[in-house]
């Protein structure tokens, strides 16, 4: 039966090709798009990061490394670590908020489920800037929150605004919805008989929660963590509106270089440095989580 074998192998080729052609076709347009509008603009940024600024304040291409040398600066390192800290704190707090909220809605929401999720999404549609600015008005020393505290005799005023807490709080407020939705989605899909089975196996809801529920929603957790971490790290609005004298973040620094500093090459180098660091983190994270997520 060897004879048809070789022939068959030859004849199968076009079929596989036909199938991959469709996927390739699907990839072609978006890939071309991203190349034209994103990759090439990022190439400009990379090229610019080796550039210089002309006498009249224009960025110019060059082949210099001094922008990168300037990155090796304790101030920038501290700033990056601070931003990283804020972003991680944001992720942690968002998790602590998002999981119970998603859990309650997904498993105890009953017929109000959709309404509750809608109630979470609605504020998200009012401008981020306006909501952040509203926090500023609320949290100021004579703002509504402090007035209420004073009227209730609970305190004679707490300094909320212009602190690290306010910045992280703003970030959580801005991005927690990105954590709730994916967790909710994976809890929704969760087979509750799993939880019941877990209760027999692990005795007690707390252990069941950590040994059954949480692992079963890993995919949502990983997605949520990423969707909160990335924008939180690059954000500059929270620090600008709610931050204090010591809460400058990477986002603000980059903004500064492109604006007042009139130093686009340095801003580009900062961006490239930050994106490199983040890409390394992200690839490591994706690699670590994708193998686990696949086990689901």
């Amino acid at each position: 039966m060897a004879a048809p074998t070789a022939e068959a192998t030859r004849r199968t080729a076009p079929r596989s090709a036909q199938r991959t052609r469709l996927w390739a076709l699907l990839l072609a347009l978006p890939t071309a798009w991203m190349m034209t509008f994103f990759v090439s603009s990022m190439v400009i940024v990379v090229l610019l990061s080796f550039g210089r600024t002309t006498n009249d304040g224009f960025p110019a291409f060059a082949l210099r490394t001094d922008n990168y040398e300037a990155l090796w600066n304790d101030v920038y390192l501290e700033l990056f670590l601070r931003s990283l800290g804020y972003a991680l704190a944001t992720v942690a707090i968002s998790l602590l908020i998002a999981y119970p909220v998603a859990y309650v809605i997904a498993l105890h929401g009953g017929r109000y489920k959709n309404a509750l999720i809608a109630a979470i999404v609605v504020p998200f549609f009012a401008s981020y800037l306006i909501r952040m600015y509203a926090w500023k008005a609320l949290l100021s020393d004579d703002g509504l929150v402090n007035s209420a505290l004073r009227n209730l005799g609970l305190s004679d005023g707490i300094t909320f605004l212009n602190t690290s807490y306010a910045v992280v709080g703003g970030l959580v407020y801005g991005f927690v919805v990105f954590m709730i939705l994916p967790i909710y989605a994976s809890l929704e899909r969760l087979d509750t008989s799993l939880i019941e089975a877990g209760k027999d196996l692990y005795h007690g809801p707390v252990r069941t929660f950590f040994f059954v529920t949480v692992p079963a929603t890993r995919a949502g957790l990983y997605g949520g963590i990423l969707l909160v971490f990335l924008p939180a790290l690059g954000d500059f609005v929270s620090a600008q509106l709610l931050g204090g004298a010591g809460t400058f973040m990477v986002g603000n620094l980059v903004q500064q270089q492109f604006m007042e500093g009139q130093n686009w090459p340095l801003g580009s180098a900062l961006t490239v440095g930050m994106m490199t660091a983040l890409t390394v983190l992200m690839v490591a994270y994706l690699r670590a989580t994708s193998t686990q997520a696949r086990e689901l």
Partner: protein, 275 residues
Amino acid sequence: MARRVERKPVVAVGVTIVFFAWLYLPILAVALFSLNDKKSLSSFSGFSLRWYDDLVHNEALLDSLVASLQVAAAATLGSLVLGTMLALGLERIRGRRGNLIGAVTLLPLVTPEIVTGVAALLLFTGIGLKLSLTTVVLAEITFSIAYVTVIVRGRLAGIALEVEEAARDLGCTPFQAVRLVILPMLLPALLGAGLLVFALVFDDFVLAFFTTGVDPQPLPVRVYSSIRFGVSPAINAIGTLMLLASALLIVAALVLPRLLGRGTSSLDLITGGRR
């Protein structure tokens, strides 16, 4: 349908209640101060609709609103098409290469907005495109594709590969399988991604600032420009109206499918849908 779990977790319910209060506190403040008769944002002196009156008579603001809606709608449509194509393509290129391309598609999410903005400005002027609402749409699509791809891929992973094979098995060409089965099944995720992108683009100011031409600018650009030096309550009025409009939109999304008698529910759109 999930079975009900009997006992309510008290702590989690408590967290949820506090969360909702916290979520709506600034929203209520925005709504409240939009009704303030003084220009202050911290002391409330009396009710008045003067800021809404201002708003209605402020043509520039209304033009901005229209521009924002147009940009958001166009960018949503564009990024849905491209992002879905990308997600479908990537779904079939698994393994390391898929991971790498996947990571590259996430890059726009990592790039600081101002850099995306400046780079887009450089690119557009470099290739001789005149800045206009069109360039805003181009830039916003580029930025939003990643969100669509992430959401659609998440949903695709939930649709077993077997479904596509079943379609092929029942006589669909690869393209028909996508058109007749995969896309309809992705619909909830597409609606969710569309809603998300619409909200993000409608709210974006950095990218929009750098890529607008001389047409009416998108609304958030104006909001951001004024926020650095203090906000006028007219902005609060806009915020409140935006909120009400979106609430209506979402209520419609909740209620309409039920009215139309279609079994698939509605709001899992935002979450990418359930199985």
